[in-house]
């Protein structure tokens, strides 16, 4: 499992700062939104890494960095051992092909004026060497079939499909270039529960069939638990805790993870009032001006003066068998479903 050749994707101290500018003509930089601020992650072949965290913590920015839709401020994205920043020409195109993305909103991420066939076949136009021209129509129909859509519907438009079906179209497009890695940014968040399950089942069966690796971003913690082998919890641009799904869900050691899990309402009225909700004070601070030391300290109920000027590193600790970025990390049992 830990064989280095299994590693398909890795980031090293990945950073993305968006400059905040003032003035219209002569823009001057007055600060930066530290959207992603030093992320290390590893993804192995056939594995799903779930990423959770509150709105604005940097999940989508991380996803865009992984698929080269954003350029890192510093740090590295390494696909199959190759540093994306150092590649060019043919080898860059090959590496980019290998990592594709599925987006959240099936209503806006598809061009309404293109047929489904054109949408799914678009990647072939960008990478003409992937499939010879003559084979493309068939390739598109095979993709439709693969994601459980009727291959005869190639000439329909997105509005003729339901939300769940549109998400399948997005998945088919991501699969067109036969990538090894798919980054899913909230792929089911816009869907109803009954439809959500269909898309998750599809993603799981495709993973087994094709040996895919997934980065799966979502804010629904039970969906992430269902699909993930490992989970990383993000807060203000940093990973604060990571580990196998059981470690994160059964034995969380970071106060933020514990609070997050405790806040998820449990679909069982018998447990009402028996959960010990850890209520966080206030809102997430601005990523343009994160707190010193531990970024979670302004909302943390365990914060000590020490936390204000010592940044906790993401590491295994005496009371945390898996990496946790808290000086006082320790397991706490949280009632969950």
């Amino acid at each position: 499992m830990s064989d280095a050749s299994d590693l398909v994707l890795e980031t090293r101290n990945l950073v993305k700062h968006f400059p905040i500018t003032q003035g219209v003509v002569f823009k001057s930089k007055v600060g930066a939104v530290r959207a992603v601020d030093g992320v290390d992650l590893q993804l192995r072949r056939g594995e799903t890494l779930g990423i959770v965290g509150e709105s604005g913590c940097g999940k989508s920015t991380l996803a865009k960095l992984l698929v080269s839709l954003e350029k890192p401020t510093s740090g590295e994205v390494i696909v199959r051992g190759e540093n994306m920043a150092r590649l060019s020409g043919q080898s860059l195109r090959r590496a980019r092909r290998n990592i594709q993305m599925v987006l959240q909103d099936p209503y806006t991420s598809l061009n309404p004026r293109m047929t489904v066939g054109d949408i799914i076949g678009e990647p072939f136009a960008v990478h003409p060497d992937a499939v010879p021209r003559a084979g493309r129509a068939r390739a598109v129909q095979e993709l439709l079939d693969l994601v459980g859509l009727n291959p005869d519907h190639v000439n329909r438009y997105p509005h003729q499909f339901s939300g769940g079906q549109r998400q399948r179209i997005g998945i088919a497009r991501a699969l067109a270039l036969r990538p090894e890695i798919i980054v899913c940014d909230e792929p089911v968040s816009a869907l109803d529960v009954s439809i959500q399950g269909q898309v998750i089942n599809l993603l799981e069966s495709l993973q087994h069939e094709l040996g895919l690796s997934y980065i799966f971003i979502a804010h629904d913690l039970s969906v992430v638990r269902h699909i993930s082998d490992r989970v990383a919890v993000m807060y203000l641009g940093k990973i604060v805790e990571s580990g196998y799904h059981l470690a994160i869900y059964e034995q969380p050691t970071h106060p933020y993870t514990q609070a997050l899990l405790s806040a998820v309402p449990v679909p069982d009225p018998r447990l009402r009032g028996r959960r010990d909700l850890i209520e966080l004070e206030g809102d997430v601070p601005s990523p343009a001006d994160p707190p010193s030391g531990c970024r979670f300290r302004t909302r943390c109920w365990k914060a000590q003066p020490y936390c204000a000027d010592h940044e906790p590193l993401l590491q295994i600790r005496q009371r945390s068998p898996h990496p946790s970025a808290c000086h006082y990390a320790e397991i706490r049992d949280v009632i969950r479903y």
């Binding site: 769940g164 529960v193 309402p265 018998r270």
Partner: protein
Amino acid sequence: MTGVTDIRAQIDALPGLDPRAPLLHVEDLHVEFRTRDGVAKAVNGASFHLSAGETLAILGESGCGKSVTAQAVMGILDTPPAHITNGTVRYRGVDLLGLSEQERRKVRANRIAMIFQDALSALNPVYTVGFQLGELFRKHRGLSRKDAKRRAVESLDQVRIPAAGQRINDYPHQFSGGMRQRVMIAMALALDPEVLIADEPTTALDVTVQAQIMRLLAELQRQRTMGLILITHDMGVVADVADRVSVMYAGKVVEEAPVYDIYGRPAHPYTQALLASIPRLDLKGRPLNVIRGLPPALTDIPSGCAFHPRCGYAREICRQEQPPAYRIAPHRESRCHFIREVLGV
């Protein structure tokens, strides 16, 4: 100037008002949208009731008619394209659908209030929240500018907005999502309504903020013994706060039951299937349960039981005949021809 007692007295004098009548009683409500694409039957005979101090959850998937129902109760539907073709909405015995717009407006602000998913678009962006709150007290309670301001600060305080005295001078966009939702709650509760309708109040918020808001709502409701209708598709939230649940499908309430029965022993195949589709721990490593197919297009609702194309229990009669609401127990109804089978009795 209309004083506080005036408006209250005017409402109390509405024809048919009976303080002992149920707080809110909706019966056989039908709403359709007449558009170029045809007639969309958004609500097809929705019925439910609400008592003081009670929380009723209206649960259902996207497009099943939850918001349209709430808007019909509030009297804020755009007509046209919406048309209420049948039904009654009674507040303490008064049929609201028969009132003039002017009478309706009084009931709306003073007795029945509503909060929405998207607080930013529900608040006026060009006025400070203090001004917007103050206006309510001046218009409906006849308070002076100074007293209205004091009440505005108290209102923000009550929804636990820190430094309320200063924040009344801020505009809606200057509040975070969670704080804005609190502002909207403060506005809805300003005039002490007896009924609060909350339409997906936390759907756009993070779970940690959702937990804060739900806790606040529950507390305010308890203090005021207010009736709360919580519209949501989140089965976790429902289990956490509801006393009773009405499950909607294709514009109808298909099952109504106390919350423990809904989760412990659902009596409708749709409720059962919804609960089964939650990704539970013991399903890890296995496919999730799904409901096959899609909810129907409202321009083309299936004959008989609207759920029949997706239902595992369906038989021929389901295609032919609409199931009536069977009473299973006091406060328990289910619209299914095969309740015994579903309940396993």
